[in-house]
């Protein structure tokens, strides 16, 4: 076509890549001799979360509602944001629950905190993983408010990173959280709390 470049940047880059690679060797299988899975250590998970200054509450499934109330009272929260599909039987009566019905970012910014479930957790690294289902809410929900209370079931906790990665959905956004937001940019001193929620509490249900 008149006026068109001889070839696109894509074609040029791919041509250079192919020339650089030269004769293609068949791909060898990757050795994966690292630890794939280990028995879960729930106490270690709790300790790792505490390392990140998270407060961890442990309770039975029948006690979730009471523990949610207790955790929110301890943080002096009288109302809290919840994602659309959070089980209603987790919600104690004395707390005001605000359902996310398309709140704007500015509206989220004045919320006192958010209560969610999670998709998986990793004991070895103290990580909680969200895949932003209806029980976890869209990404902004657990990002803009300054406080996050997360309910983790013991059955969701795995020991290693590989076990967690393999269990994740492939078609949804994923956020992994290891403690509240932090930085070590100033003199390598870890400072808790920059832009994400500055306080993370966890209810571990077993």
């Amino acid at each position: 076509m008149v006026g068109q470049p001889m070839s696109t940047a894509k074609e040029q880059i791919l041509a250079r890549v192919r020339e650089a690679i030269g004769t293609r060797e068949p791909a060898a299988p990757i050795d994966r001799e690292y630890r794939q899975s280990l028995p879960v250590n729930l106490d270690q998970f709790e300790e790792r979360l505490q390392d990140y200054n998270a407060v961890v509450y442990r309770c039975k499934e029948s006690d979730i509602k009471r523990t949610v109330g207790y955790a929110l009272d301890a943080r002096h929260k009288t109302k809290i944001l919840v994602p659309p599909d959070l089980p209603l039987n987790w919600l104690p009566l004395h707390i005001e629950f605000i359902h996310d019905e398309g709140l704007t970012h500015a509206e989220l910014d004045v919320m006192p905190g958010v209560l969610t479930a999670c998709t998986a957790a990793i004991s070895l690294t103290g990580s909680i993983i969200l895949s932003h289902s209806g029980k976890e809410g869209r990404r902004a929900l657990t990002l803009i408010p300054d406080y996050h209370l997360c309910v983790v079931f013991a059955s969701q906790v795995v020991e290693t990173v590989p076990e967690a990665i393999r269990s994740l959905p492939r078609n949804r956004p994923v956020t992994t959280i290891a403690g509240p937001s932090a930085t070590a940019d100033i003199e390598m001193t870890r400072i808790k709390g920059v832009h994400g929620p500055r306080t993370l509490d966890v209810i571990l249900v077993s």
Binding site: I122, A164, P173, T176
Partner: protein
């Protein structure tokens, strides 16, 4: 092709910059203190992993495989990202990439962008290009914010403001944020940054990020960070633009299980960094509804073309080699004249950029091997440094004195008579060596020459 690596083409030779920086005792103290802390933390959390060597080996094999089949993985990534609602652009060099990004922002009538820390945009000097077109970039990583407000340059790949201490940072914040008062502790400075950036996070409609990993199998992108500024930039804006070097591709989603173990422990000495964001195209009702990826070459295919130094492209930018390097720990990052400093910078910058601008860098090393020991993807940096030195010599670009010295050595050692004469000359010349060899002896001692040569001793036995 206009390949730029920051402003490194205008940088003076390493030895010249290093000499000036070595006189800055405050900077050396800051760099030493910070790298000591990261090294200690890294050693502790790496020591916890009995399978560290197996992880390194797997990472190396994955990266080797990616580079051998890079064209296929790039096309697979493009296909899957597009299927998920993303738009993929290709850029031969820095200028092309900047042009694509500027056009995307301008076409929508926007003039502001919030940015997550990305070395790749420092490489293309995106901020300068944006400003020239009337677009204001806001750096949101705390260290990058310090650099941007202080009109400074990054001196470290992971902690770009590592050369600044808290009182220097406080001064910058007070002046540039227009604050009347500000506490002295790191917490006070972090809070100031939170307040300063929050309004911008909520308002600015365009986000820009780099990527730590791009997954061919799913078309997903992964950003690894600590502060939450990354989550803000990839979640809140209407439009998200992500630029990544073509070597950032990994084949499968499961390959993350290797790199998400190696990177945080190597980079910041954490078992896991506070936040990882992984997203695939666009998600209805969650996050930006328009997503663009710019795949950048900017010299990477040149690196790929040399099988002996190709593994430079394995780098996951953890900066463990900087923290371990006895040269970096003395000079800091600015001496390298490139946004990529330390051992990895010494091999990456000269390969991306034509050698003439950065041929001093492969010599900025004592070849002690500490960088290879800590590299999570097993890049044999000392071997590549030697390889690049050879390329410089073969291109006839070695220093005149070195060329003459090597010629003289070859002449002397090719013939026993020549050698005996040379040995006599060395003995006679010894009192004058500090004049003749001043470039060497100004910072080092030459050992005294022996009373008799081996041949003399043998003959008198």
């Amino acid at each position: 092709m206009s390949i730029h690596v920051g402003e490194s083409e205008h940088a003076p030779a390493f030895a010249k910059s290093a000499k000036i920086l070595l006189a800055n005792t405050q900077l050396r103290r800051n760099v030493r203190r910070a790298t000591d802390i990261i090294r200690g933390k890294r050693a502790k959390v790496v020591g916890e992993m009995p399978d560290w060597e197996q992880l390194r080996e797997s990472a190396k094999q994955i990266k080797t495989n990616v580079l051998r089949n890079l064209d296929q993985y790039l096309e697979e990534f493009e296909r899957n990202c597009t299927k998920a609602g993303g738009h993929v652009h290709w850029a031969n060099d820095a200028d092309e990439a900047n042009r694509i990004i500027i056009d995307l922002i301008k076409d929508q009538g926007h003039n502001e962008v919030i940015k997550v820390k990305t070395m790749t945009s420092d490489e293309t000097q995106l901020n300068k290009a944006l400003l020239a077109e009337g677009i204001t970039p806001f750096e949101t990583d705390l260290a990058d914010l310090i650099i941007q407000l202080g009109n400074d340059k990054p001196s470290h790949i992971v902690v770009p403001a590592l050369h600044k201490n808290k009182s220097e940072i406080r001064d910058i914040f007070i002046e540039k944020m227009g604050l009347k008062d500000l506490g002295h502790e790191p917490e006070d400075l972090a809070t100031a940054a939170r307040v300063y950036l929050r309004e911008r996070f909520l308002r600015v409609p365009v986000g820009f990020s780099g990527a730590n990993f791009a997954i061919a199998e799913t078309g997903s992108v992964c950003v690894v960070e600590s502060e939450g500024n990354g989550r803000m930039c990839v979640t809140l804006p209407k439009v998200l633009i992500t630029m990544l070097g073509i070597e950032k591709i990994i084949p499968t989603f499961n390959d993350l299980e290797v790199f998400l173990q190696l990177l945080p422990r190597s980079a910041t000495g954490e078992r896991m960094n506070p936040y990882n964001s992984i997203w695939t195209g666009i998600t209805k009702g969650d996050g930006p509804q328009e997503f663009h990826v710019v795949l950048l070459d900017n010299g990477r295919t040149k690196v790929l073309a040399d099988p002996e130094s190709r593994s430079t492209l394995h780098c996951i930018r953890c900066a463990a080699c900087l923290n371990a390097c006895p040269v970096y720990r003395q000079t800091g990052g600015h001496a390298y004249g490139s946004i990529y400093s330390g051992p990895i910078g010494a091999i990456l910058t000269p390969q991306l950029q034509s050698m003439e601008h950065s041929q001093s860098l492969p010599y900025a090393s004592s070849l002690c091997g500490a960088c290879y020991e800590v590299c999570p993807v097993k890049i044999d940096i000392p071997e590549i440094l030697i390889h690049l030195r050879r390329r410089i010599v073969e291109d006839g670009n070695s220093p005149f004195t070195e060329r003459m010295g090597m010629k003289a050595a070859a002449y002397a050692m090719n013939d026993s008579g020549h050698l005996a004469a040379a040995q006599t000359l060395v003995k006679i010349g010894e009192p004058f060596q500090n004049i003749v060899m001043s470039a060497w002896t100004s910072t080092r001692d030459l050992p005294p020459s022996p009373k008799q040569t081996f041949r003399q001793w043998w003959a008198s036995r």
